[in-house]
Amino acid sequence: MTTSYQLKRVDFIFKNENDWEDVLSKSISKPPQELINELISSELKGRGGAGFPTGLKWKLSSEAVDDTKYVICNADEGEPGTFKDREILSRVPFKVLTAMAVCGHVIGSKEGYIYLRGEYFFLQPELNKAISEFEYYCKEINLDFKIRIFMGSGAYICGEETALFESMEGKRGEPRNKPPYPSSYGYMGKPTVINNVETLAHTFTIFKYGAKRFYDLGVQYSRGSKLFSVSGDTPKPGIYELELGMSLADFVDEFGDGDTKAVQVGGASGFLVPRKRFNETAIGFQGKLTGISLPTGGSMMLFNSSRSMFNVIDNYLEFFREESCGQCTPCRVGCQQLLSGIKAVKRGEKNAQYLDKLMRLAETMQYTAKCGLGQSVANSFSSIVENFREEMIY
């Protein structure tokens, strides 16, 4: 397993944040357009998993005309296998707060929210302390920007941006139809920038060192570094910042236990890559066009040969069945049927060809479900059933 590319460790995100006051006061003295251009030329893409260009997002909201706009930090980190956002918020909270205030300056917003998942309730006191210190400094430099924490209450779907708005508005966390997009119609129907915690932390790096330092990392279409949450059958589980564009083979060389059978890239809503594909798979944002470059929110779960892939997909489907918000039929019924379907095949109540029917159902969900949750169930389902068909049956 030799490839030309090597794993490159990077240390930006967790590097000290002591100079946040500098970065903040310098950034807000610049015109919004300059900051937007900086972000666009860095080619930073959203680190929550979807990979939307951050500079463009800020630009669209800055162009929206409204007296009230919002900046929201999405800390509803619920994707199985992801735990980087909590680490950022507890180790370098000022980077995130600074980035939110700079975003407020760029788009013309005076209010920011951190939507923190209920499971991370224990982070609240420390984070509130950081926020008061931050707001104290804002007052000193005459910056009118307030940040508040909004607690979630245990719903994976609220990580979807429009479901998150609904939840903040006191409703069930059911995703909205898009368009309209958050840049024009977000929280309370106002133009809103909503970014993942890690994305905001990266903008801090860019404002501090300039776009080039960031752009020089990674490969074409996938610039910069990214935090990876590594778990499963690995001798060194934890959080690692790596340059984008690495091959999965190199990743497994570094983090595998020598017996890695497959890696789940991107959590339950991502793809399972079997050993034979490690060499041809890269981690980045090129998307599914080439079939070899997988985007990810940073969840990397390793499975060794002692694991049954049936148990894995069974666990994912149970997760999706519970977390589906239930408003659209393909997702609500689809998740239930996929789950009971694979169980029936395993028990021998249905024959092996039934798996093909289930694959078609998953494909239908991909096209017809309303939001990313239902659409992405097919990712893990198809990649697992295709590559480990015999484990589904016997």
């Binding site: 980190e77 619920g78 994707e79 199985p80 296998g81 992801t82 735990f83 909590r86 998942r117 209920g118 499971e119 991370y120 309730f121 224990f122 909004f150 607690m151 979630g152 209450s153 245990g154 719903a155 994976y156 939840s167 903040m168 508005e169 006191g170 409703k171 069930r172 966390g173 309370m188 949450s229 590594v230 778990s231 499963g232 059958d233 589980p237 934890g238 959080i239 789940q264 339950a268 779960m301 499975f303 694991r307 148990n311 894995v312 666990n315 994912y316 997760f319 519970e322 977390e323 918000c325």
Partner: protein
């Protein structure tokens, strides 16, 4: 006046009475009461001038807003893939054995409730669980017995709660 009604009134004073204040109010009641009774939900609806069905619909959407009576300490053990792989079931059996309850049940003295939950975000330190808002990681059956004993002593020490 009923103490829950007082609590709800205070929460509404504190957060506001608009629809977008509903979640913090629901969370405030759950923090105190551990669950939302039908009475609480209709009281909240009255206080915020919302249809009770809307409050019920919202409250029951969120897995951390219980609407069944819960014990003082709610144990939520993570059942997602990595925790399952790293021995969640053994830990769960140890808890069930020690508290003499199954998942979804509450001890007769109202101290502990046992639930399973989806990914807690501690996959690198699996298995993990929450007791109310406190996190415990790298669990083993031995470790979880120690943790529960500490909580049982806490219960013996304080009668005010």
């Amino acid at each position: 006046m009923n103490p829950v009604s007082d609590l709800i009134k205070n929460l509404a004073d504190q957060h506001g009475r608009s629809r977008h204040n509903l979640l913090p109010i629901l969370q405030g009641v759950v923090e105190q009461e551990k669950y939302l009774s039908e009475f609480s939900m209709t009281e909240i609806a009255r206080e915020l001038d919302l249809p009770a069905a809307e409050v019920y619909g919202t409250a029951t959407f969120y897995s951390f807003l219980e609407h069944k009576k819960m014990g003082r300490y709610i144990i939520r053990i993570c059942k997602t893939i990595t925790c399952s792989m790293k021995g969640k079931n053994q830990v769960l059996l140890a808890i069930e054995d020690m508290l003499k309850i199954n998942v979804g049940e509450t001890t007769p003295d109202g101290t502990f409730s046992l639930l399973q939950t989806n990914c807690l975000g501690f996959c690198h330190k699996a298995p993990a669980m929450l007791i109310n808002n406190e996190v415990f990681t790298d669990l083993t059956p031995e470790k979880v017995r120690d943790i529960l004993s500490t909580y049982m002593k806490k219960k013996g020490a304080s009668h005010d709660n």
